[in-house]
């Protein structure tokens, strides 16, 4: 089946983003297609490549990045959520004259229209939040 996963929550502050990661990994392992990962609201923090947890803790941001790279997933960070929360790509950082662009290269900033599209083109949408 074609699945879309919607993530509302940041790493570390709640378990929900981790659950979304495990669900996504398991879906891929079972042979399902991930049509899209959509990071919304506090979920955009999952795309912050500057995240540096202690070495003995699970690095969720890194895990997402590797999953996305390995399976060539379409991973979108909601642009309006991300701008508010200071997670920018180089283009937005330049546009708003901010010094730091911390968004991981595996993620793409885009709008909620991509979620509407995912509603239409996925068989199932699974949401994770806290």
């Amino acid at each position: 089946m074609k699945l879309t996963v919607l993530v509302h929550s940041a790493p570390y502050s709640s378990e929900a983003a981790y659950s979304a990661y495990r669900f996504t990994s398991s879906a891929l392992a079972a042979g399902h297609e991930i049509y899209r990962l959509f990071f919304y609201y506090d979920g955009v923090h999952n795309s912050n490549a500057s995240s540096t947890p202690p070495q003995d803790e699970f690095d969720l941001v890194k895990a997402w990045s590797e999953l996305i790279k390995t399976h060539k997933l379409d991973a979108i960070s909601c642009v309006s959520s991300a701008l508010r929360r200071g997670v920018l790509d180089p283009q937005e950082a330049t546009r708003y004259e901010k010094e730091a662009a911390s968004m991981g290269a595996q993620f793409v900033l885009s709008g909620l229209g991509q979620l509407v599209d995912a509603n239409t083109n996925s068989d199932r949408v699974m949401s994770f939040g806290a």
């Binding site: 919304y40 609201y41 959520s81 229209g113 991509q114 509407v116 599209d117 509603n119 239409t120």
Partner: protein
């Protein structure tokens, strides 16, 4: 983005207060986006979400934008199926006739039917 095919029926269940968190605003943004793509939309207020419907909000006092004013614009975007659970309203002593916007008070059973008839359901 792939081409959008026939519109889907999407139900949004808004269960959060208007200003205590950003969730109510985030839910409204999802609704407006779906409306822009001409999806069939149900918007349901449950639990603390009905506080969004309280009349006479003046959020300028906390430097916030008026969420109930934004809600009142929904019919302009052809979002007309707006419901509030009767039980949630009465538990908060909110009179369905004196709310900031017009909503259809409904039972939990009616919400169950909306869910069953939806392609996708979001709760926020």
């Amino acid at each position: 983005m792939s081409t959008l095919q026939s519109p889907k029926t999407i139900t949004f269940i808004s269960r959060s207060t208007p200003y205590g968190s950003g969730r109510a605003k985030a839910c409204l943004d999802m609704v407006l986006s779906a409306a822009a793509f001409e999806q069939k939309i149900n918007l349901v207020f449950m639990d603390d979400g009905v506080w969004q419907l309280q009349a006479a909000q003046k959020p300028k006092s906390i430097d916030a934008k008026d969420l109930s004013a934004a809600l009142s614009a929904l019919p302009l975007f052809d979002v007309n199926n707006i419901f509030a659970e009767s039980k949630s309203l009465s538990a908060r002593d909110l009179d369905p006739a004196s709310l900031a916007i017009g909503v259809k008070a409904c039972s939990a059973e009616a919400i169950a039917v909306l869910i069953r008839e939806s392609d996708v359901v979001y709760q926020l």
